[in-house]
Symmetry: C2
Subunit: 307 residues, 2 copies
């Protein structure tokens, strides 16, 4: 049943991260042709932004080592945005060589995670991204800036809004078109979300440049999303079937499942363009490829998937 709520956006763009953030965090390495079929199926289900892969060194993310082979297989997808992650200038070169027109860089709000993930300080990482963003913008590419650990950090605990604001500003100053605020360890609750968004928009950041990226590690992702929608956010990251968020593995990151998100959005009368049945069937199909049930409750309910 569709029952709108006051003050919410009429339309939300789902930024689908399953093929990149999802598969990157799954144990199994998925064959290139399965990845290509996955992206095609996601597009056929109505997703208009499908993050396709990452041009990071294969040593760090062997799951996505086939970026050069995969990306050309997606060339027939017209009208679908296919951003790719680029960690540095070498990654940007590889993405450019294949004709990618949307890239994303991956920063951290905390020193501990910047050190753990990039072996740099926060500012050293920003300095590394500067030429990446500048060269990408010089080619009129769209640049997204991911920001990890915006709410809590496994080593440092709670993260102050002011620290996040500083790195957001730096990413925008570099030239990023859009931010994606990540609750990488899933600890945020709705008041914290509202506080961060209020700080950003009060500082003059347009809400249509802010995306949110919540994790369901503690089951909070959808409540946090509701708080973000109430603040006017219209870009929400999610992972088809909750990929990368398998609750059965120690590496569980708990990505918000796109299906759970879309169920809420459609129930609220918010347009997404997504065909939920088709999307769930795609996630059930991918779960079969991975040999385990989808962690998405909506996928399980709609496809009667059982263990």
């Amino acid at each position: 049943m569709t029952v709108p709520a006051a003050g919410l956006p009429a339309r939300v763009r789902v930024h689908e991260v399953g093929a990149r953030d999802g598969l990157q965090n799954e144990k199994a390495v998925v064959p290139t042709e399965v990845k290509a079929e996955f992206v095609h199926r996601l597009a056929a289900a109505g997703l208009t932004t499908v993050e396709a892969t990452s041009f990071v060194h294969p040593k760090w993310v062997p799951q996505l080592a086939d970026a050069e082979q995969l990306f050309p297989l997606l060339g027939d997808l017209e009208g679908v945005r296919l951003p790719v992650l680029v960690p540095n200038e070498r990654g940007l070169d590889r993405a450019m060589a294949l004709g990618a027109d949307r890239v994303a860089v991956f920063a951290s709000a905390t020193e501990s995670f910047a050190k753990a993930n990039l072996n740099r300080t926060v500012d050293e990482a920003l300095a590394m991204f500067a030429p990446v963003v500048s060269r990408a913008k010089g080619r009129d590419m769209h640049v997204r800036g991911y920001l990890s650990m915006c709410f809590g950090d496994p080593w440092e605990g709670p993260v102050e809004v002011g620290r996040v604001l500083r790195v957001c500003r730096a990413l925008l100053d570099l030239g990023c078109d859009e931010l994606s605020l990540g609750d990488t360890i899933g600890v945020a609750t709705p008041g914290h979300v509202t506080a961060l968004l209020t700080a950003l928009t009060t500082a003059g950041v347009a809400v249509d440049r802010i995306g949110v990226h919540f994790h369901d590690t503690y089951g909070q992702a959808l409540a946090n999303t509701l708080a973000a929608l109430q603040h006017g956010v219209t870009t929400v990251d999610a992972s088809a079937g909750g990929l990368g968020g398998c609750p059965y593995a120690k590496s569980a990151t708990g990505n918000l499942a796109t299906e759970d998100l879309v169920w809420m959005l459609h129930g609220l009368g918010i347009e997404t363009g997504v065909d939920l049945g088709r999307l769930s069937a795609t996630s059930a199909w991918m779960a079969d490829r991975l040999g385990r049930p989808s962690p998405s409750r909506t996928v399980r309910a709609l496809t009667h998937q059982e263990q």
Copy 2:
């Protein structure tokens, strides 16, 4: 990290249903002494309302056939509310004989579910409850009125707010002190929750007589809870560890896990009196008794429970 949000209540009473609604919907029949230990542990974790069991005919709910044996084992729990479900006058007699001072009746907003669950029309069921509520109130007992299928029904689809409002009024007119609005099949989204609560409070029902009972079948329970809190609701039903909501069984009802709820409430600075670590340990212990992992994401994250 605690970051309050504007306009939310300072304190919420968690109505813990794991021992009744939870165990009733689990395949395994739990030994009476384990149930008693479970209720004691829940109380020790700070839960002040623990629905203990059901005085329904054992033929219908064999999992709770030991109500007569269990209830006396809880007599030492001072200051803890121990409501019990009574389906009819016979059930009320049994509960009264054991000294219960809080009972609950179980109505349906839809004809299909009234027929399926009680083999009566909605109005016939209300007529059956009339002497139950009247006799209970005559003894100064507290009476809760559960109302199933307040948002959607598996046979009838979406449920109109007006129909729910009518049965709510009838339950209050019978003498119920409190309502529990159930999204039994978990289909509701936040706008629908707000619409129903608005209709009830506009009709003069005090918000402190309204409890909400959401299911996580489609992952919506916590977002719906946030909408209810924003409307001023201060009584929220939940099931420790998501008991009864095992996502691995066809009978999955997907009860909201108390731990996921408490994580959000505490993050919002809302007092519950619950010790989340102690509660999660209790749910992990019960999951061991049941031989399967807890479906609560918070329990899994806090206790590193894996499959």
